[in-house]
């Protein structure tokens, strides 16, 4: 296989609502009330792991296009479709025997834009929150209608921006347009749904803005 080039898609992830990507899983209570988000251990700044964006794109694409996923809820492992080819094979026997070659897509960690770092720093000084906000969620008792067990949820506040980068490795004989369309569709689906945790409660509504491919505008959806 011969590598033709790396296509580089860049842009900004704009958080329309608070975004929560847990340092621990949402379904698992670790240390009760403590619900931290993921942060860079050196700078302590929140970031969006490449695995979160990649995983979300993949799962939404699979739910839409893969018969296997639609039946089982599990990742596609057909070893033949474009999702398997571009996002990488899931380590099953079937996929391993496939001739798809290496994973084509690389989704990097997305870091706060310098502008967002400044804004959040200012908020930090005014309100004493460390680059984030804490939202208290209540469980409402269905009989009494009273709120119980208030649970603090740390999130990155609405309006925050992260720089993102996706690299697509294009090999000889790859269908570049098909690959780019799949990425485009994946990003649009994330935009329609959500990123991170608690999406059904309104968290994680994001918009991909200023998207470019190799420096030229990369339009996600027609007419936008």
């Amino acid at each position: 296989m011969k590598l033709e080039r790396h296509a580089i898609i860049k842009g900004v992830i704009f958080c329309e609502t608070g975004l929560r990507i847990g340092g621990s899983n949402d379904d698992i209570e670790i240390g009760g009330n403590d619900n931290p988000i993921i942060r860079n251990p050196v700078t302590d700044l929140p970031y969006i792991p490449g695995s979160s964006l990649k995983g979300r794109m993949r799962s939404l694409l699979e739910l839409k296009h893969s018969a296997i996923t639609q039946q089982t809820g599990k990742p596609c492992d057909c070893g033949q479709c474009n999702i398997c080819k571009i996002f990488g094979t899931h380590g099953t026997h079937k996929a391993r025997e496939s001739v798809l070659g290496p994973t084509r897509i690389i989704v990097r960690d997305a870091f706060l834009t310098s502008e967002s770092v400044k804004e959040l720093k200012a908020a930090n000084q005014e309100k004493g929150i460390y680059y984030t906000e804490v939202k208290h969620e209540n469980l409402v008792d269905r009989k009494t209608g009273k709120a119980e067990h208030p649970r603090p949820n740390e999130r990155v506040p609405a309006g925050s921006k992260f720089d993102f980068e996706i690299v697509l490795r294009i090999f000889e004989n790859d269908n570049e347009n098909a690959a780019l369309n799949l990425i485009r569709e994946g990003l649009s689906l994330v935009q329609k749904e959500y990123l991170g945790g608690s999406g059904s409660r309104g968290y994680g509504k994001v918009r991909f803005i200023n998207t470019t491919i190799d420096g030229v505008p990369f339009v996600l959806e027609e007419g936008k």
């Binding site: 379904d27 792991p49 994973t103 690389i106």
Partner: protein, 316 residues
């Protein structure tokens, strides 16, 4: 061979430790994908027949270098207090993994510098990742949760300036290879090295590749230190101070998709090990290991020693 120093800025955390053989493996795939089979085969042919195009060190955080495994002659303690003091000092030094260039050079030139305590230059953090059930949207029924240890560089120099880069030392067979190798490293940075490349782990940008004369000041060397993990070859010096470990290697890229993507376990000598030489120090020791991957007999494991001259006082 001329020595260069390559500085890399990591774009996020990395999972696989950046050891010479791992970096070499990544470069081989880059060369193969960018230039085709003929190019990689001709390069590996030269490596096989003892004419390596380049010799790599492991990657080290900032300007730091591995603590040499050396025995230091000290006066025998005369009193119980001195004995305690020495034991305490030994314990403290044992914990230090890396030295500043100044400490390193002073030590391999035969003196005993004062070695300062410093924070660990690499921070590790464990992150939880999950595979959600696509239909229910949760990790319950059919989802999976796994933990991943990521490393980040957390190194400052003596003026408290951040050194957010890794250094790889490289000896080149001829200076003309510099620009070519630099290009290969730039390409490799786009893809990343090691595990979880597709989520951005191990990706980097190249800051610079400059000539490095740091190791050229050692007078009358009688030993060498290896800046890379390696496997000695027949005839290599055997007397010295060294540590071994077993490497459980894995194949990369499309070979990683084969039914058996593992390499045979390999006993290697750790970077920082020191061996006595008779006469001068060669630019490299060690060997390229053949027949390392059962499924792919053509795979070659990089196990050369990046040698640095050392002046040891005392025995030998």
């Amino acid at each position: 061979m001329e020595t260069y120093r390559l500085k890399l800025r990591m774009k996020s955390g990395f999972i696989s430790p950046l050891q010479a053989d791992t970096i070499f493996g990544g470069l081989c795939w880059t060369i193969r994908y960018a230039e085709g089979n003929d190019s990689i085969n001709s390069m590996l042919g030269d490596f096989r027949s003892d004419r390596p195009w380049f010799v790599l060190s492991n990657a080290f955080p900032g300007d730091l270098l591995p603590k040499p495994l050396m025995k230091i002659k000290r006066p025998l303690p005369a009193t119980r207090d001195e004995q305690l003091l020495q034991a305490r000092e030994g314990k403290r030094l044992k914990k230090i993994e890396y030295l500043t260039p100044k400490e390193f050079i002073s030590l391999i030139s035969g003196s005993m510098p004062v070695i300062e305590n410093r924070e660990k230059p690499i921070s590790q953090v464990s992150t939880l990742h999950n595979q959600i059930n696509r239909i229910s949207g949760s990790t319950a029924d059919g989802g999976q949760l796994f933990e991943q240890m990521e490393s980040y560089i957390n190194q400052k120099d003596e003026n408290n300036q951040e050194q957010d880069y890794l250094s790889i030392y490289i000896k080149l067979r001829e200076p003309g290879l510099r620009d070519w190798l630099l290009d290969q490293f730039r390409l490799l940075g786009q893809t990343g090295i090691g595990k979880r490349k597709s989520t951005g782990k191990g990706s980097f940008s190249v800051i610079e590749m400059e000539k490095c004369e740091l190791f050229e000041s050692i007078k009358e060397p009688n030993a060498y230190l290896s800046l890379s993990n390696f496997v000695p070859r027949q005839g290599d010096p055997t007397e010295g101070y060294y540590k071994t470990f077993v490497k459980y290697g894995k194949l990369g890229e499309e070979y990683a998709l084969s039914s058996y993507p593992f390499k045979h376990p390999l006993l290697m000598i750790r970077a920082g090990s020191v061996f006595f030489t008779k006469g001068g120090v060669k630019p490299f020791y060690g060997q390229m290991v053949e027949n390392i991957a059962p499924t792919y007999p053509e795979v070659l494991q990089y196990a050369l020693a990046f040698s640095v001259p050392v002046r040891m006082n005392g025995d030998n």
